[in-house]
């Protein structure tokens, strides 16, 4: 994995080359990541969250945390396939959006769904495997989000930073497992995420075995 994540897109050079195009891309990616949150806000404002609004909110936020996590993991393979370095420039943003959705998902569960009910929270965190796995996934994302600024990349050094950020593979697996363990009988959707993760991890593993990357 030779992605120059942290060092991608030095700003000055970028501006000189194609400022408008870059800004359009940035806003397009930002808008795409933010749209599901905007949609949720719109439904809330128009009273259109469905028959079980709490379930709609919690599920929607969880879905998008996982979708954007998979999208983040798809960015390096996308570069191998297209040869373009552009996707790499937005990987941090997509990853941070995924983290934001995950935080909102857990907050909505704790505050809106169970109403900060202590006994429920304690039993959920100690007795319910799918919640424990999901929470472990969120905890895994915290150090990644915390070390996302450029300054942190420099402080840690590229090698250590990269090694730390391999935790994202663990987070992806925990997120998909959390979803799989939650469903009652129809495992179609979680299996789609798992298939995508297997594919994305497989591409990396393949490249590593062939020896074209670290």
């Amino acid at each position: 994995m030779a992605d120059r994540t942290g060092k991608a897109a030095p700003r000055g050079r970028e501006r000189r080359r194609a400022p408008v195009k870059d800004r359009v891309w940035w806003w397009a990616v930002f808008g795409a990541c933010g749209a599901p949150l905007a949609a949720l806000g719109l439904w809330a404002a128009t009273g259109d969250l469905g028959v079980n609004p709490v379930e709609t909110i919690v599920r929607h936020l969880g879905d998008w945390a996982l979708r954007l996590l998979v999208a983040t993991l798809a960015i390096s393979p996308l570069r191998y396939l297209t040869g373009s370095t552009r996707p790499i420039r937005y990987r941090r943003m997509v990853g941070l959006w995924s983290f934001a959705y995950a935080v909102l998902h857990v907050t909505a569960y704790a505050v809106v769904d169970i109403g900060l009910h202590g006994p429920t929270m304690i039993s959920d965190l100690t007795e319910r495997p799918y919640i424990m796995v999901g929470m472990a996934g969120l905890l895994t994302l915290i150090p990644l989000a915390a070390t996302s600024p450029q300054a942190m990349v420099r402080r840690l050094g590229g090698r250590r930073w990269k090694r730390l950020h391999r935790l994202v593979y663990v987070a992806g697996a925990l997120g998909a497992a959390h979803y799989l363990m939650m469903v009652k009988a129809d495992i179609t959707e979680p299996m789609i995420y798992i298939a995508l993760l297997v594919l994305l991890y497989g591409i990396r593993l393949g490249r590593w075995i062939v020896g074209r990357s670290v």
Binding site: A35, P36, A39, L42, W43, T46, G47, D48, L49, G50, V51, N52, P53, V54, E55, T56, R59, H60, D63, W64, V112, I114, G115, H117, P119, T120, S123, D124, E127, R128, P129, Y130, M181, M182, K184, A185, D186, T188
Partner: protein, 324 residues
């Protein structure tokens, strides 16, 4: 990104009926063509609005001569569109919106229920004949889903005991088994094997004969909407909702405990009895509290869903944490 906008939330004049007092949130689906397209794209990404196409209550035939019942609760009713657009009926798909979308094509007339097993007079029970030959009663019951949500539903039904008596069960009949229609051409959810079709449920004979247990044939004083299990379904208010089997085509009196669908699928999570019990958690979530649909917070779940006075004695001496 595609969004579907509703152009009106106001009730139409036709809705100003005596029942309109029940309808606190009525949704009208307009611009069906655009909505269908955006719905298809949007539902794949979870981006469209949640409200499925709610059927108009007035489209359902009013049932004649429905008597009130002393077993009815006086709690606030859930609205007709809540009851008919948020359903677990896996024969039509696993999402809550699927039954409202796909069930309306189900052919429910004529409808025959085969009654067999340990009884003196096995036979066939027609749904129309069933409704015509018994006094219909309104039973306003709490419904508690195993997923920890609940509703209050004004069912119309017939006590199951009265119906079963017609077939003269023998002394060997210890249980009653029920089966839902199996017809993948009409029930698209049956084309995937999320459960082992047909859907099966069962009750112990004394549970079946309890006065609370009814065969539901309608709600809100009208014929049963198909997504709620038309034309004939079971309603057992002290048990989790999955026991109340829908669109019944077979009733059998048996000597031994019948196999039941969710128990066959995940025996550690769903027992034969499935009595509502805040003390016994589902392995994956707590059953101590529930969300009444329409409320933001959760309320405590009541033992036997609040029907202990009528049914607790059925389980005297049983360890309900083991026989869950």
């Amino acid at each position: 990104m595609l969004f579907r906008f509703r152009s009106s939330t106001d009730p139409r004049p036709s809705e100003i009926t005596p029942e309109a007092v029940y309808l606190n949130r009525r949704r009208l689906m307009q611009g069906a063509g655009v909505a269908a397209l955006s719905g298809l794209a949007g539902s794949m990404l979870g981006l469209t609005a949640r409200s499925a196409g709610a059927a108009e209550m007035e489209d359902f035939r009013q049932l004649p001569d429905v008597a009130p019942s002393r077993f009815s609760t006086d709690e606030d009713l859930n609205a007709f569109d809540q009851i008919t657009t948020y359903n677990n009926f896996y024969e039509f798909g696993t999402s809550k919106e699927d039954p409202a979308r796909y069930a309306p094509d189900l052919k429910t007339s004529p409808w025959d229920i085969r009654v067999d097993g340990e009884c003196a007079k096995p036979g066939v029970l027609g749904a129309e004949e069933l409704m015509a030959s018994h006094q219909l009663e309104e039973r306003i019951y709490r419904l508690r889903c195993v997923e920890a949500w609940s509703m209050v539903i004004p069912w119309v039904g017939i006590p199951l005991a009265k119906v079963l008596a017609r077939f003269e069960p023998t002394g060997n009949a210890k249980y009653v088994a029920f089966e839902t229609l199996e017809d993948p051409t009409q029930m698209p959810g049956q084309r995937s094997r999320v459960l082992d079709w047909p859907y099966r449920e069962g009750l112990r004979m004394d549970e079946a004969m309890n006065p609370l247990t009814i065969l539901g044939v309608g709600l809100y004083g009208r014929v049963m909407p198909k997504q709620n299990g038309a034309p004939v379904r079971l309603v057992v208010p002290w048990k989790y909702g999955f026991k109340s089997i829908k669109s019944i085509v077979r009733i059998s009196f048996t000597v031994t405990e019948p196999a039941t669908s969710w128990n066959m699928s995940q025996p550690y999570e769903y027992g034969f009895y499935a009595n509502v019990n805040p003390e016994v958690s589902h392995p994956r979530w707590s059953q101590a509290r529930e969300r009444r649909i329409g409320e933001w917070g959760r309320r405590p779940t009541l033992m036997f869903n609040g029907y202990g006075e009528q049914v607790a004695s059925l389980y005297a001496g049983m360890d309900l944490s083991k026989q869950f």
